[in-house]
Symmetry: C2
Subunit: 300 residues, 2 copies
DNA sequence: CGCTAAGATGTAGCCATACTACATGGAAGG
DNA sequence: CCTTCCATGTAGTATGGCTACATCTTAGCG
């Protein structure tokens, strides 16, 4: 019992279904039957009443009750709410994979589900302390360099477009040599944001090391602990669900973009009121320009 | 009563809090008191029992009950579950805005919340029929052109990187003139995917019109009904929460990327088994290459 | 191989809480 | 001023979540 509570607090970063899956081997046999029913079809399990679930699993109600405690819930009501919340995010492909006979609608639904639950995981795993350090570093920066290749390059481009919020010159050259040159020319107050989901990309590492050697600060944005995050002054690690099969879309891009949003917003909030006012003015004039001319596009 | 049901089915695309907000004027006075309590602090409202909520709103229990029916719930239990589900997605900034005295952790939390609930909205509003038509069009394509400016340009770049899944040549030139040239050279089986959140961007419209005139098929990806979606052969409309203030991050980019994921996956699923096998081989060899060399980057 | 003890599971009963039928109070309209 | 209808509260009911206790299984040890 105390163990359950302990685990619940320790592993609150996980979603209910993950917790159940992990607990299954430690459960008693009849409780496993309950777990099987729930994991098999979580959506209809959420509709069940306690008696219904007990009947479906061919066990007694107190067993269902004990099952709830074992997976870290306060009781059946709490269990039902937590399950509903997990389902609201959609099931990650771990639980429902994409197959060839899915209709386009199904595919859309599943990809949205997977993306959302992946972002939920990212939300749970991103360390606030690291975010705070990153924002502090950028606030003190004279200029920012964003680097990344492939999908991570797209994130870098997006970050560069947010330079009005960052408030200092930002560059995100696509060419490796250009990146290297820019990194080498880092000053003591230059910040380099090195992006790579794997954290193993040789070129990105090279650029990050060059920036570091030149005396700049390196913020890394990776999907896990890796060489890049190890060498960075401020490592940002944001976990998503890995691509398990061919059709799993990569959600690390999305999570990366959200982190960039967070940094940009966090920095803008801490800048001077004049800067904030300028950003506000820019936004409203941009909107006005769009209304009249229809020539602008949405850089936000 | 029948009205409630009708509305519930009609407006099931909305989240519970939105529904409550919209219903407020049509509610009786004491029901409005309940609504006020719920909207004021939805998080702690979700903890309430029926009696507790009745006491907090200084009304009787049946009034709470009637309130639940009025906002399209089956009863109080259903209400509680729907509320919990809405909260699981996080509150969009409509309900909790970002202020200067938020800690970096708060900012991160709020931006994640806003992004996730925005994607949830996108999930609810994207028409499956349109997705199906878009996939069909791409399956029949000889080549694809992605166009967009600013944030939408980033989406175009990302889409271009997914060409292995699409299975036909894809281009996404950043330069307006290049885009125009490419569009003008569209053949009867060329597909142009024109991306603009506002759907008013003059350049994007110009390119889309050129592609259309040349005999190609135009798929639009916009945030609302607009000139671009009107002229497109296949309009994809994906709604998100608008940027209400300076610090609201734009979530249309994210939703756009997810739609691209959906198209790419939907198309890949319908391609020949040989094509699927080739993609699978590419993915595994890419992974192997990363493991050994550490030179690759994550294009997925 | 049997006995014992601990753990797993079911039974029975209680209490809370969601829900419903009905009554009362108040407001609007004639 | 009376009447009617609508809003709101009161009282009662039953379902469903939860708990104390009994029974059965199983494993460990003599």
């Amino acid at each position: 019992m105390t163990l359950d509570v302990e685990q619940a607090s320790e592993e609150s970063t996980d979603t209910l279904l993950e917790r159940i899956t992990r607990q299954v081997p430690h459960l008693r046999r009849s409780e496993q039957r309950v777990a099987a029913i729930v994991l098999d079809d979580p959506v209809s399990a959420a509709q069940f009443t306690m008696a219904g679930l007990a009947e479906a699993a061919e066990v007694s109600e107190p067993t269902v009750m004990r099952f709830c405690s074992s997976v870290g819930c306060e009781g059946f009501q709490d269990f039902k709410i937590q399950l509903a919340q997990t389902l609201a995010l959609g099931l990650p492909v771990t639980h429902s994979s994409i197959t060839a006979d899915d209709s386009p609608g199904d595919v859309a639904e599943k990809i949205f589900d997977h993306t959302i639950s992946s972002l939920d995981r990212a939300r749970r795993t991103l360390a606030p302390a690291a975010v705070e350090k990153a924002i502090a570093a950028i606030l003190d920066a004279s200029d920012i360099l964003f680097v990344g290749f492939g999908a991570s390059g797209v994130i870098a481009q997006d970050a560069q477009q947010k330079f009005p919020l960052f408030g200092v010159p930002c560059q995100a050259p696509e060419d490796f040599h250009q990146q290297f040159i820019a990194a080498t020319m880092s000053g003591p107050r230059s910040v380099t944001v090195a992006i790579s989901n794997t954290g193993h990309t040789e070129q990105t590492l090279t650029v990050a090391r060059a920036a570091h050697k030149a005396g700049g600060t390196v913020i890394s944005l990776t999907g896990r602990t890796s060489p890049l995050s190890e060498m960075a002054d401020v490592p940002l690690i944001v976990r998503t669900f890995e691509d398990t099969d061919v059709y799993t879309p990569s959600t690390s891009r999305l999570a990366g973009l959200v982190v960039i949003d967070i940094l940009a917003t966090g920095v803008a909030l801490r800048r001077s009121p004049e800067h904030t006012a300028a950003v506000r003015r820019m936004k409203s004039e941009l909107a006005a320009m769009r209304q009249s001319d229809d020539t602008g596009e949405d850089p936000s």
